[in-house]
């Protein structure tokens, strides 16, 4: 079963790479593979598959959670992408400097999407830290071509920064793995599998372990988008096609977070949980602050969303660092954020297609111009800003309660304050976009793409709403177990 999870997207990917045309077949291949993957994931909830590859591949609550998010979001993105590919002309003029540019071959795009899914699945499934690292590295390789889909110099620049910064981070993470191995030298015949390390956490050398945690935190933190390592994120998200941005924000960042959580759990088992917790909390607050700074008066609405991702990654880190109830909150928040952010990026794609600009000030009267996308955009903003009745309100409330229960009053205050600032700044921009009169703005509404473009975001929005209205018992317990698996106690 686990093998299937890995094989389906990989095979589909290579197949897509292989068959250059007919395009129609390829375009059906993408959602089909995604659907199959989702179905398998759903089955995993019913029956938990056995670990394979002598325990290197396995599925615990945490990985199942992340896997489900990734798979579900990918399904939505795949459907959206199908419509996207249908519409997108191969050659178009760059609306920023008017130059002509082409897109990468569609076959490669689809293939990379599927491989991206495969690599992310690998990250979630791997119980071996080395293998997990390989997976994270692989996600970089698979996603870089996606960012360079539109072949103009801005997207190339974004790709370059993404590659460089993430590779550096990944290299540091590798260093961290080595440190871990050294730390484990004390216990004979090392295995970097989660179970093994947890079992022998006692014998690990604390100093090396701490150093290892630092390296892995910075390394995976770069990928996750924690300030100050977040710098690749806004560029990549603003230049990549919106569907890719949605996957980056909604799925990739979680996978990186998963990497950090694995080590955090290990630290906890080794009795260093406080040390790692404080670091996570600190990075969380810092990320929220930095994100707030750049959300204020942000001119580009896709960058705005990217920075908001940084902010929410900060919230996740903070929640995991504070621990206790907040850990469960962080898990819930991960789900909510992925859904809401995916929705927003897909909608941003629609807006971009119609308004042909990423400058927020040049977008006015959304509610009138795009009768479906507009309201969804406002709803998505409210969701991501954490207003009821959307899910993020609940998770943010839980995290706050957790923080206060742990007696981290200062953290709670900073958390509330930064949330407020980000909200105010974001509201200013979103309102200007949604309201106002579209008069005097060149829009070509025929470029808005019917059901393909609105159904997926609508579904995601509905999911966030549902999570805000009711959180079934089984899900709550699953989240709690996931938090426990993440070593957040």
């Amino acid at each position: 079963m686990l093998w299937l999870l890995l094989l389906i997207p990989t095979a589909a990917g290579f197949a897509a790479m292989g068959l250059r045309n007919p395009a129609a077949l390829r375009r059906t291949l993408l959602p089909a593979a995604a659907a199959a993957h989702t179905a398998l994931t759903a089955m995993c909830w019913a029956v938990r598959p056995e670990p394979v590859l002598n325990g290197w591949l396995g599925l615990d609550e945490l990985s199942l959670l992340v896997l489900s998010i990734t798979s579900g979001l990918f399904l939505a993105a795949a459907i959206y992408a199908t419509g996207y590919l249908r519409r997108e002309p191969p050659r178009k003029t760059d609306f920023q400097d008017g130059g002509l540019f082409t897109d990468a071959p569609e076959a490669r795009f689809v293939a990379c999407l599927l491989l991206f899914l495969a690599t992310m699945t690998l990250v979630t499934l791997s119980r071996h830290l080395g293998l997990l690292w390989v997976g994270v590295e692989a996600t970089t390789l698979a996603s870089a071509p996606l960012i360079y889909f539109h072949r103009h110099h801005r997207s190339l620049e974004a790709t370059w920064k993404y590659l460089l910064i993430c590779s550096v981070g990944i290299a540091l993470a590798l260093q961290g793995n080595f440190f871990l191995a050294v730390a484990a030298k004390g216990s004979r015949e090392v295995h970097l599998t989660v179970e093994h390390l947890q079992a022998h956490a006692g014998q690990l050398d604390p100093v090396w372990l701490k150093a290892a945690f630092l390296f892995l935190l910075v390394g995976y933190g770069t990928k996750m988008g924690l300030a100050p390592m977040h710098t690749w994120l806004p560029d990549a998200h603003s230049e990549a096609p919106s569907v890719v941005s949605a996957l980056l924000s909604g799925a990739l960042l979680n996978c990186a977070f998963l990497g950090i959580l694995r080590v955090h759990a290990l630290m906890g088992a080794a009795g260093l949980g406080e040390f790692s917790g404080q670091l996570l909390t600190g990075f969380g607050l810092l990320s929220m602050a930095v994100a707030a700074v750049f959300i204020i008066e942000q001119a580009d609405y896709k960058r705005l969303l990217a920075y908001s991702s940084v902010e929410h990654m900060g919230i996740l880190a903070l929640g995991a660092g504070v621990g206790g109830l907040a850990g469960m909150g962080a898990m819930l928040h991960m789900v909510n954020h992925s859904l809401a952010k995916g929705m927003l990026f897909l909608l941003a794609g629609n807006i971009l297609a119609v308004y042909r600009t990423k400058t927020a000030l040049q977008v006015r009267g959304l509610l009138q111009t795009l009768p479906v996308t507009g309201p969804l955009w406002v709803a998505g903003f409210l969701a991501i800003a954490g207003s009821p009745p959307f899910g993020l309100f609940v998770s943010e409330l839980v995290i706050l309660k957790g923080a206060l229960q742990q007696g981290q009053t200062a953290v709670a205050i900073g958390y509330l304050l930064l949330l407020g600032v980000a909200f105010a700044a974001m509201a200013r921009i979103v309102l200007r976009m949604a309201y106002g009169s579209p008069a005097g703005i060149a829009v070509d509404p025929e470029r808005s793409r019917g059901a393909w473009a609105v159904v997926p975001p609508m579904a995601l929005g509905a999911a966030v709403l549902a999570l805000g209205l009711c959180l079934p018992e089984w899900l709550q317990s699953a989240l709690t177990e996931a938090a426990a698996a993440a070593g957040v106690r």
Binding site: L156, E157, S167, V168, N177, V190, D205, D235
Partner: protein, 214 residues
């Protein structure tokens, strides 16, 4: 014979300083290649105890790739983009050297903190490995060309590899997968990117790569 390891370490340091101090791209490329060779040797020496095929293959392969394939590809990129053969640093070479010495000090401190806890392996090599990584970062940060950034990245890689040597980590596949994958990234992906850059901008300076900002 840890003495040999120590000598290699010293050589590694020198290579780093050369990388920091030289003004010509070609020299830098050679310096990195040299590091790769040294590390290949170090690998063989470090695991002389159990010198099985796996170790040899890995050492030789990575040496060949990093000392052979990479320089060739980088030179080609430079030739194609017809870029200036200068390094064009943000920080002067002397300054970089001084910085390098400072980094060395920091690494010594960290190494000193760590090595007593090290179960085995050479304390010096540990320090040098860290220093090499730091040098790589330094080169990435302080040089202007995309090529030099790749070089810096390779240097980091060498540092990490050296670290792996220093402790002869037995964890199956960890070192190999890691190093090979990273090399793969450096060589192919970044290579491709560089070629794209040179096509798009007909040069490989990164100072034109600053259109995206706030």
């Amino acid at each position: 014979m840890p003495a040999a390891l120590d000598i290699l370490s010293i050589l590694l340091i020198l290579a780093n300083l050369c990388l920091l101090g030289s003004s010509r791209l070609a020299t830098c490329i050679r310096a990195v290649a040299l590091q790769a060779v040294i590390l290949g040797a170090a690998a063989l020496i470090a695991n002389r105890g159990e010198l099985d095929a796996r170790v040899i293959v890995i050492a030789v392969a990575s040496t060949l790739i990093k000392a052979g394939a990479l320089p060739w590809l980088l030179r080609r990129a430079i030739r194609e983009s017809g870029a200036v053969r200068e390094v064009e640093p943000f920080i002067g070479f002397t300054a970089s050297l001084l910085w390098g010495v400072g980094l060395l000090g920091a690494c010594l401190l960290i190494g000193a903190r760590l090595s007593p806890h090290a179960a085995q392996g050479s304390g010096l090599l540990l320090t040098v490995a860290l220093f090499t990584t730091a040098t790589g970062l330094m080169v990435i940060v302080s040089r202007r060309k995309a090529v030099t950034q790749v070089l810096g990245y390779l240097a980091m890689e060498n540092g990490i590899y050296a670290f792996g040597m220093a402790f002869a980590i037995q964890e199956p596949l960890l070192v190999e997968m890691g190093v090979l994958l990273d090399v793969f990234v450096a060589v192919f992906v970044m290579g491709i990117a560089i070629n794209n850059i040179s096509r798009e901008f007909d040069h490989i300076d990164t100072d034109r790569l600053t259109a995206l900002k706030d």
